[in-house]
């Protein structure tokens, strides 16, 4: 299905990446370890074909498995997101840090962490109009002591992560929004920790618990319109 693809090794992670355009795949050659697996992890579609009967244009996008995690007509921006997403694999969380499967929504130098899965398909054009930048990455590294998001630079970049203060972090809610007790915050956040392993579980979950003390999490609904409105009023 995908004309261009490869399998890369980034830190300790093997990732199959595909695209309909040869250029992004060629740029990933330094990380190549082989041919992509049948199941593609990330796919960058820069020139989507529209169904003939459809009058709606398909927006160029990044897919993770079957999820459309980001879409934009700005192809340079779209590829830039993919490279930042891949850059995240280079930086595992260390003591006092945790990687949450959340994305940073930012405005005026502060960030709110939103569950990544709630942002799939969100309109970046609408966010742009509101002055909100949302980085559609796999996960965000959080430094608990400074209550900051450490935004990953692009894959292979020599730059250090950019630190942005977090003013809120949200957890998906299956009921109405509200404040949840600390144990439930930790329980819910545990499900969102990226790269949790038995050998790093103690310091990672310590960091999650510390984060709930430093900045209690809030619940957010699955309604994307409501999500954007809440970001607009909270940032």
């Amino acid at each position: 299905m995908w004309p261009h693809h490869l399998k890369v090794l980034i830190a300790n992670t093997v990732i199959s990446i595909a695209s309909d355009d040869p250029a992004p795949i060629e740029r990933l050659e330094p990380w190549r370890i082989g041919e992509a697996d049948e199941l593609i992890d990330y796919a960058l579609r820069l020139s989507p074909e529209d169904p003939e009967e459809s009058k709606q244009r398909t927006i160029p996008n990044i897919r993770r498995g079957s999820d459309n995690i980001a879409q934009s007509f700005d192809l340079e921006r779209l590829e830039g997101w993919l490279w930042r997403l891949l850059g995240g694999f280079e930086r595992p969380a260390s003591a006092g840090q945790v990687r949450l499967r959340s994305v940073a929504a930012m405005r005026d130098g502060t960030a709110i962490l939103v569950p990544a899965s709630l942002t799939y398909g969100v309109s970046h054009r609408r966010l742009d109009r509101l002055g909100i930048e949302l980085l559609p990455v796999r996960s965000t590294l959080v430094d608990v002591a400074s209550t900051s998001a450490l935004l990953d630079p692009s894959l292979g970049s020599p730059e250090d992560p950019v630190s942005v203060p977090i003013v809120g972090w949200w957890l998906p809610s299956y009921s109405e929004d509200g404040v949840i007790d600390r144990t439930t915050q930790v329980a819910d956040a545990m499900q969102m920790v990226d790269d949790l392993r038995p050998d790093n579980a103690q310091h990672t979950l310590d960091a999650v618990a510390d984060l709930t003390f430093a900045l209690p999490a809030e619940l957010v609904s699955f309604d994307q319109n409501e999500l954007v409105n809440r970001l607009h009023s909270s940032l």
Binding site: V186, V193, R197, Q202
Partner: protein, 119 residues
Amino acid sequence: MSEANGGGRVVWVDSLPADDDAPWQDVHAEDVLRVVTDASSVLVDEDTVVFEVSSRTTHILDPLAGLIWRCINGRDSLEAILADVADAINVAPAKLISDVLPVASSWLTDGLVEVVKSE
């Protein structure tokens, strides 16, 4: 096996772990157990990671222990749960009960579960 790590503690629950300072408490097959509200768990590959928020203790359960952990519901007796699990993994229930009771007792001793009904 256990090891100190930072402010918390990691306990691997694949044999007979328990808090050395706590008096041992036996679980019986007829007991109905409930996970304490302070303990949360997540599946990590084949293991189950249980984290106690107040004590900052992490418990790593092996696949079988994790399966039984996830079946504890505050309604069914351990015996009933183990009968289902034994059927699913094709082992004799009596053998599974004798293997699991000490592990469940360590959970009780460590305060991960409580007995809500004892028959």
